[in-house]
């Protein structure tokens, strides 16, 4: 479990992140979302014990990131993928992974087996000795992810893990992350990819130099936006906009062709009443569906600015 309590980092007069307080339960995928300069990478670096907080603290299991002795232990139990892969470009993929495995004291037979399996999975075993400087960005990113996982860490910190990957490779990485979750790994992801965050994250935190909102993506959508249903009917009487207001808890948002967009407070109670009422008015329902809001809608509503890339 990761517990952040008032975590803050100031660089002189610049407050990169202020008063960040969240709990990340073990085995969850937690997304940090926010525009450029919102403090996502700074927060991740503090949790990786690369930066010391100005105020507040965080605990990973029972270890305090502000204590020097604990920081050493924390570094041993985390895997970290920085924004740029940072591989040793003149060395081969095998050597890159092997040296890192040695820093984590992975025994030789285990690391040989693990590296072979990883490079086989990434379809790179036959190119294991080639300098990685000649590899594509996507391949480098995959090797960097493999490097972060080489010691089988219980906590994984990924800064933009799919940023430079093509759709197939990005899916491979997402599936890999979901697979790790099933094995109990706690994963913190910084991402600009809101669709990806919505798909894989159990919880997301929207930050802009401080915590704006935290929660499950679906819950966030529902808590911020009222549930909306789209009801397509055979005809719309001219008096309907006035008469439908007699239904308590139902608001007509708009009418588009023969589709009514209605906000409801409690779908399980309100939806049957809407259907009954329309039938009683002699209006035939041809199609009914829920109008979905996305995490992007939540993001734009809360943070106000479109994604900076």
């Amino acid at each position: 479990m990761i517990t952040c309590t008032g975590l803050s980092k100031h660089f002189g007069s610049i407050h990169a992140i202020d008063d960040f307080t969240v709990d990340i339960p073990t085995g969850q995928i937690f997304g940090l979302l926010g525009p450029n300069g919102a403090g996502k990478t700074t927060t991740m670096r503090m949790l990786c014990c690369l930066l010391r907080p100005t105020k507040g603290t965080a605990h990973i299991d029972s270890y305090d990131i502000t204590k020097l002795a604990d920081a050493h232990k924390i570094r041993g139990m985390i895997g970290f993928l920085p924004e740029v892969p940072g591989l040793y470009e003149t060395l081969g993929a095998y050597q890159n992974l092997d040296y890192y495995a040695q820093f984590y004291n992975v025994p030789k037979p285990q690391r040989q087996e693990s590296i072979k399996k990883t490079l086989d999975d990434l379809d790179l075993w036959n190119r294991r000795s080639e300098p990685v400087g000649g590899f594509s960005k996507g391949m480098k990113q995959k090797i960097a992810i493999a490097r972060a996982l080489i010691h089988d860490p219980p906590y994984l910190f990924l800064d933009e893990p799919t940023a430079s990957l093509d759709p197939q490779a990005a899916k491979l990485v997402r599936d890999y992350i979901l697979d790790l979750k099933t094995q109990g790994t706690t994963i913190l992801i910084n991402t600009h990819n809101l669709t990806e965050a919505e798909r894989i994250c159990d919880q997301v935190a929207l930050i802009k130099n401080t915590l704006i909102k935290v929660g499950n993506p679906k819950h966030l959508e529902h808590s911020i936006f009222a549930r909306t249903i789209a009801v397509t009917v055979d005809h719309i009487p001219p008096t309907l906009p006035q008469t439908i207001t007699s239904l308590p808890g139902v608001t007509l948002n708009k009418i588009q062709d023969t589709t009514l967009y209605l906000s409801v407070k409690n779908p399980s109670d309100d939806n049957p009443r809407i259907i009954d009422w329309l039938s009683s008015q002699g209006i035939k329902i041809t199609f009914i569906t829920e109008e979905e809001h996305t995490l992007e809608d939540v993001y734009l509503k809360l943070l106000g600015t479109p994604q900076g890339g």
Partner: protein, 357 residues
């Protein structure tokens, strides 16, 4: 400190150096050129000027004619011992352990004495020192001194006046030895500058700092990864260079073979401490600047203590001996310790990650 992490980092760096043409080229070329090729090309031609046998001579000796066959041992009828004589003419006397100034000595036997501004004729001298003295029709053995005019005499001296080349060669050899100390002090300015700045430029420092490696392990690993190739190539060049000197140069100038104790101590204790000093200086500089070339340029100043030694030796102010070498080793070691703790104290992960752009 986990030596395992240190050694892993060192091996990683050494593996990287194998692919860095500049680093690899420097490791091979610099010791080879400075330590092997340059000394031979520069100094081998001088061997033709050096006599193979040492000359028996004293400073300012001028000889005219040889001792005539008719010369016989002088007749003496009394003896003077353990006293001084000034502006005196002495004849037919055996002089033992005398100090004679401005004297004229005729038909004397002179033993174990010192003669200054004097003239000696028809005499025999043994184990004496003559300064600004004229010897005529006399015989002398085991003499020493300077500025002697020998007219029809037969003199042998115990003092050796070395040839000009023999005077120069020890200085030249000292210069070669200094070069072997400068090589390991200079190589790290190329290798060690890559150590931290290179990691930063490759953006590989951030994931490395997120591993359980400590600051001490990281710095020590970086030290070894510069020390091993620098000292390794220097010792190889030293072995090759000294072997060639022993084969091609030294026998021609009648000098003892190398390495002697001074050279061995210089290579085994002084050179590593000079190398370490340079490495630590470069690491300190490279942890504060964000460009490899800047690190190399600033790192160049680190070899100043070695340059001081070089200038001292070349000017004759410092004589290279086992004691001098050990003294400088102690000084360098002290500087090394200070630099190591300073490097550790200023190594700031946060600054490196946030201020390097």
């Amino acid at each position: 400190m986990a030596w395992h992490n240190t050694w892993t980092l060192t091996r990683k760096d050494l593996a990287e150096f194998r692919h860095q043409k500049l680093v690899l080229g420097s490791i091979i070329a610099m010791p080879l050129v400075l330590g092997v090729i340059m000394p031979l090309f520069m100094f081998y031609p001088l061997t033709s000027l050096a006599p193979t046998q040492p000359t028996w001579d004293v400073t300012g000796l001028q000889e005219y004619g040889t001792l005539p066959d008719t010369f016989t041992a002088p007749y003496t009828n009394h003896t003077q011992m353990n006293t001084q004589a000034h502006a005196t003419t002495i004849t037919n006397t055996t002089l033992i352990h005398m100090t004679l100034t401005n004297c004229v000595l005729i038909s004397c036997i002179i033993q174990d004495s010192t003669l200054t501004n004097s003239t000696v004729a028809y005499s025999v001298l043994t184990e004496s020192s003559c300064v600004d003295t004229i010897l005529t029709t006399s015989q002398g053995t085991n003499l020493s001194g300077r500025h002697i005019i020998a007219d029809h005499s037969d003199l042998t001296f115990i003092a050796i006046k070395p040839s000009e080349t023999q005077l120069v060669f020890p200085t030249i050899l000292n210069l070669i030895l200094i070069i072997f100390i400068i090589i390991p002090a200079t190589l790290p300015t190329i290798i060690a500058s890559y150590s931290i700045v290179g990691e930063k430029n490759n953006r590989s420092l951030e994931p490395l700092l997120a591993t359980p490696i400590t600051d001490g392990e990281l710095l020590t690993g970086k030290i070894f990864s510069s020390l091993i190739p620098s000292m390794g190539s220097t010792l190889l060049a030293f072995t090759l260079g000294v072997s060639l000197l022993d084969i091609l140069l030294l026998p021609k100038i009648a000098m003892p073979l190398l390495p002697n104790l001074t050279w061995l101590l210089s290579m085994l204790v002084l050179a590593p401490t000079a190398c370490l000093m340079s490495i630590l200086g470069c690491i300190i500089v490279s942890s504060k600047v964000s460009d490899v070339r800047a690190a190399q340029q600033v790192g160049g100043f680190i070899v100043m203590p070695v340059v001081v030694l070089m200038l001292g030796v070349l000017s004759g102010f410092i004589l290279l001996s086992p004691l001098t070498v050990l003294a400088f080793t102690g000084i360098y070691l002290g500087i090394d310790l200070v630099l190591f703790y300073f490097a550790k104290a200023i190594f700031n992960r946060e600054e490196i990650l946030t201020k390097w752009k």
